[in-house]
Symmetry: C2
Subunit: 116 residues, 2 copies
């Protein structure tokens, strides 16, 4: 009966829900960067930068291109599209259902009298 909802992937959110990773994402909006530059600009140690980048990559938020010694990371569009789609499916319902407390209160009333 119930349609198959988009079902936002929570692990994508948890990957973004870490301050330094969010800073990395914000930084990469300006364009692709190497690990070293990311670490420098954000005042992170290289190992922690690498670890965060790995998490973000594993969740498909970033993609990496090896260029000689350097690894260049850049944003991927997909997860943001997914987030956007999920939000859109919300907006539709927002106007309708969020605020009909009254209907629900009447419903509660009914159940109360029903079960006695």
């Amino acid at each position: 009966m119930s349609g198959n909802l988009p079902g936002m992937d929570v692990t994508t959110l948890s990957a973004l829900a870490e301050p330094n990773r969010m800073r990395i994402v914000e930084l990469l909006r300006e364009g692709p960067l190497t690990v070293g530059e990311i670490a420098d600009r954000l005042g992170l140690r290289q190992p922690q930068a690498s670890k965060h980048l790995k998490v973000l990559s594993d969740h498909g938020i970033l993609e990496m291109k090896a260029e000689a010694n350097r690894r260049i990371y850049k944003l991927r569009a997909a997860p943001f599209q997914e987030l956007n789609d999920w939000l859109k499916s919300f907006q539709r319902i927002m106007e309708d259902r969020f605020d009909n407390l009254d209907a629900y209160l009447r419903e509660l009333q009914m159940k109360n009298h029903e079960e006695e």
Copy 2:
């Protein structure tokens, strides 16, 4: 020089980045519900449901209305708007900057030759 970016609140994301809390949010799309119903429908124990609801409320994702014995929780629009705005500020940049690896590679080249 740099504009003040939206700056998505990571704590909002972390509140959503928990499976049971996400399930609560999805459930409440259908309309407001009491703690008991939320716990029932999701197969959660009441205390855990209350705890998750508190987290969601503390982050402004839900709001609560006390109705006699019951507490009715419902979604708030604000955080979703915030998320939406943040995403929008992304979309704009997506097309332009995400993919100009070439420019960045040339830039790297230059720096390499520069510093010698």
